[in-house]
């Protein structure tokens, strides 16, 4: 069985899709596009599509990953075009390669997140980032599937920086200057999410964004020990597999 690895984006309004919404949409798109997806055996066969760490509902992403098992060899470029045409605009296929290595999920060690903070005071954000970065531990609480959990956010954050940019303020169409937070966060258990880091900023420095931040995952992949940045998780497959 050939396995195809897919990088896709969820953009704009479709960032409000949940993981379950996306899996239904992908299954239907696969059928519409005529992708020869393999099915599991057994009482109720399921298409062999697996998803790696989906971004939360409400968060956009330029770097989501899934893997499709197909029962005859396919040209990844063709699958990319056909699947993209079958998905609603906003769920966009960015890259398809043939898997030549082991588990993809293992290679998704960290993510780059971008948080647009419309209306926020740049100086206050800078100050909060400094205090957060100076701390050893910043513990937050969040309701998880296993109940209320308390965990550290600081150690998972490899880098946290303020970049200036523009964005739209909630409720307005016009583009205005806005503060952008860029962070690289290592994937841990429990997962440290961008909103956990924001909660951390509130706890250490009393900073709270005036309106809901626009959050986007820009990349995920194996963390480079030297730069602390994620590399393309498809590099190994492109290079021809495990060595």
């Amino acid at each position: 069985m050939q396995r195809l690895r897919v990088r896709y984006a969820k953009r704009g309004r479709l960032r409000f899709t949940s993981h379950r919404d996306i899996s239904r949409a992908v299954e239907r798109a696969v059928r519409r596009a005529g992708v020869p997806v393999a099915y599991s055996a057994g009482f109720s066969p399921h298409p062999k599509i697996s998803y790696a760490g989906a971004a939360p509902t409400g968060v956009a992403s330029e770097a989501e990953y899934l893997e499709i098992g197909v029962n005859r060899p396919c040209d990844p470029r063709r699958i990319r075009a056909e699947l993209d045409a079958s998905l609603p605009p906003g769920l966009d296929i960015l890259d398809v390669i043939e898997a030549r290595t082991g588990t993809l999920a293992d290679r998704l060690e960290g993510s780059v997140w971008e948080l647009r903070l419309p209306g926020a005071d740049p100086a206050a954000v800078e100050q909060a980032v400094r205090e957060f970065s100076a701390a050893d531990r910043v513990e937050v609480e969040r309701l998880t599937k296993k109940g209320m959990r308390r965990f550290d956010t600081r150690q998972a954050v490899c880098s946290l920086a303020v970049v200036n940019g523009t964005g739209t303020t909630a409720g307005q169409e016009t583009v205005q200057p806005c503060v952008i937070l860029r962070m690289v966060v290592r994937h841990e258990t429990p997962a440290v999410r961008p909103d956990d880091v924001l909660m951390g900023l509130r706890l250490v420095a009393g900073f709270a964004p005036p309106s809901p931040p626009e959050v986007t995952r820009l990349a995920q992949g194996p963390l480079d020990a030297a730069t602390g940045e994620p590399a393309d998780p498809f590099d190994l497959d492109r290079a021809g597999g495990d060595r």
Binding site: R20, R28, A29, V30, R32, P88, P212
Partner: protein, 640 residues
């Protein structure tokens, strides 16, 4: 005048609500047309949550048909959940369409499809959020025409105050006709304002405008008469019937949502109407005559629908699907076409006979045989004669025995409680029936691994049926019988554990009864309930019986009527019923005769296979039964 998208104002709220994707739109096969290029603009509403409303066939069909018209656009709107409603009120965001997030008030028509009366409070939420006055008489040229359709619109009187207009029957052709009237009126410069537009619609006799009719009452509360209050308004309003379903093969491009909905499948109506004559069944009475879609059109629709949607399940819908004249060829042909694929086919199976099992076997060819559903509806032989459900106990036992012996492990049986003339024994008979079903199944299979589930709900008498005169059973009696039935089944050591039991308590049925057979005086109750916070009455977690009763008590304090008067009171032959001026084609004298036949247990055959019994629909409507066979077969897709 262009209209701006509300999405930038809605978007910040979506972070704070459950399942935000339902408000975002962008479904596959949805359409956004240019606002300024359209003359006639429809907002189509299904007055329930998106997850229930999106799959609705009626809305999808009209949405597609209207958007195919060059100068017309149609968008959809659904009831927002209370979490978003509160935020929209706080932020001043009005009711929006999910397609282009345009404000509902900017449209020319707000068409609301009422499949059930329990959506009435949701209509008020939408009107209020939209900034449209609740009362039709308070609306201005700035407000859309609020138009109701769907089965509940066959008695729109309880919501008459809130509606500008209502249409009865199939929507395809009348929606186009209304668009045409509206377009001409607008192009003439909207002469005479709203009233002239409503007058043009009403004068055809095909659109009901409640405010053009006055209702007079007797001192005892009964209706004296309902008459038009201005010249040119016909005294009766007629239903609409699409005669050739092959000419209307919609939906062609089913809407495929991103959000999860209650029906995740592509549905094809294989016929409309039903002449089995079950006396409780409003759908069967008001959708006459039977009109079949041909086997070849069904095959084409399934092929296109599956290709366009990517759905993996296809439902063949109708009121009694096994009754299609070529259903065996339809199921065999589709099963052949999709054998080995992952496309599943389903047929709502309610007919109690072996033929139905043959069909189910065919459709489950490459799937599993899990459960089959049959609907005897009445527990005793006597009860089934009263409701004209012609199934004997022998039929049922023979049918389930066949099902179990052919590998089906679970049989679900549907019943109703509180039927006219029902006594405790009629309901307790269901327990005996269920035991016999299990006994027969165990004997046929030699296995104890079989189950039977009894599903039962309270009966609500509906307008335009022979039971429209009947007293509804009070909820205390219904609940007592449902408990007694549960106890009788549980107490049985030999079979009790193989019988599952699902039932609904009787209180919601009383509210449904009030809304089903109510008149214009009930409108104030609906409004009072809504003002008291009543929302989503079809959802048990939101429904409050006490709220409805308290509101009714306040509203009816000075009236000679109360909830019992509307529900548990039997009407006599000559009482003017609130919907008598709305014509479903059924002859009132025939309905009364059928009600008398019910009381004496006399049965009526299906007119598809036996001579006409003069229900009145075909001559009144100028229609006739449209059934096959066509003699055609479905060829393999590779041949086409």
């Amino acid at each position: 005048m262009s209209v701006e998208s509300l999405f930038p104002r809605l978007e910040p709220l979506l972070h704070k609500v459950q399942k935000p994707i339902q408000y975002v739109g962008g479904e596959l096969n949805s359409t956004v047309k240019d606002w300024d290029e359209a003359t006639v603009r429809w907002a189509l509403m299904y007055p329930d949550a998106y997850e229930v409303g999106l799959p609705n066939q009626g809305v999808q069909i009209l949405y597609e048909i209207l958007n195919e018209l060059p100068e017309t656009l149609a968008e959809r709107t659904y009831t927002v959940w209370p979490d978003l409603e509160a935020l929209m009120r706080a932020e001043g965001v009005p009711q929006f369409t999910v397609d282009a997030h345009r404000p509902v008030r900017a449209f020319d028509i707000l068409g609301v499809s009422f499949a059930t009366e329990l959506g009435y409070t949701n209509l008020l939420t939408a009107l209020d959020l939209a900034g449209i006055p609740l009362r039709a008489v308070e609306r201005t040229a700035e407000d859309p025409i609020v138009l109701a359709g769907g089965h509940a619109a066959f008695n729109p009187e309880p919501v008459a105050d809130f509606l500008d207009a209502a249409v009865l029957g199939d929507g395809e052709q009348i929606a186009i006709a209304i668009s045409e009237v509206l377009r001409e009126w607008k192009e003439e410069g909207s002469p005479g304002g709203r009233d002239e537009l409503l007058m043009r619609l009403a004068s055809t006799g095909g659109v009901y405008v409640p405010k053009f009719f006055d209702v007079e009452y007797h001192p005892d509360g009964r209706i004296k008469r309902v008459v038009p209050n201005r010249p040119g308004v016909p005294s009766r309003v007629f239903k609409h019937t699409v005669m050739d379903l092959d000419e209307w093969p919609y939906p062609k491009k089913p809407l495929v949502p991103l959000a999860e909905t209650v029906h995740e499948r592509f549905s094809v109506e294989i016929f409309r109407g039903c002449t089995r004559g079950c006396r409780f069944c409003q759908a069967g009475m008001i959708t006459r005559p039977v009109r079949e879609r041909s086997i070849t059109t069904i095959g084409d629709m399934v092929e296109v629908g599956v290709r366009e949607s990517g759905f993996s399940e296809v439902g063949l819908l109708s009121l009694s699907s096994a009754d299609h004249s070529e259903i065996a060829d339809v199921t065999r042909g589709l099963a052949d076409r999709y054998e080995g694929s992952q496309i599943g086919l389903s047929l709502p199976s309610t007919r109690v006979d072996a033929f139905n099992i043959d069909l189910a076997n065919e459709l489950s060819r490459n799937g599993r045989r899990s459960g089959l559903t049959f609907a005897p509806e009445g527990g005793s032989e006597r009860m089934r004669k009263v409701i004209n459900k012609m199934v004997t106990e022998e039929d049922l036992i023979r049918t389930v025995t066949t099902a179990y012996s052919q590998g089906w492990r679970q049989v679900k049986l549907y019943f109703m409680c509180g039927l006219p003339t029902e006594e405790d024994a009629d309901v307790l008979a269901i327990a005996d029936l269920a035991k016999k079903v299990i006994k027969a199944g165990r004997e046929a299979t030699g296995s104890r691994d079989i189950r039977c589930t009894v599903s039962i709900g309270g009966f609500v008498p509906k307008p335009h049926t022979p039971f429209q005169w009947a007293a509804q059973c009070d909820h205390e009696t219904v609940d007592r019988r449902l408990r007694a039935l549960r106890d009788a089944m549980r107490a049985d050591k030999e079979y009790g554990r193989a019988i599952g039991y699902r039932y609904h308590d009787g209180k919601p049925s009383i509210v449904e009864g009030l809304l089903s057979r109510g008149d214009r005086r009930v409108g104030a109750v609906i409004r009072a309930v809504w003002e008291d916070g009543g929302r989503f009455d079809g959802w048990s977690e939101h429904f409050s019986y006490d709220r409805w009763m308290a509101a009714a008590e306040r509203v009816f304090a000075d009236e000679p009527v109360d909830v019992d008067w509307y529900t548990t009171r039997e009407r006599d032959e000559h009482e003017v019923l609130p919907w008598d001026h709305l014509d479903a084609g059924l002859d009132r004298e025939w309905l009364w005769q059928d009600w008398q036949d019910a009381l004496s247990g006399a049965e009526v055959e299906d007119c598809r296979w036996t001579p006409c019994y003069d229900c009145g629909v075909c001559p009144t409507m100028g229609t006739e039964i449209q059934v096959g066979p066509t003699g055609k077969k479905l060829l393999p897709l590779t041949v086409l």
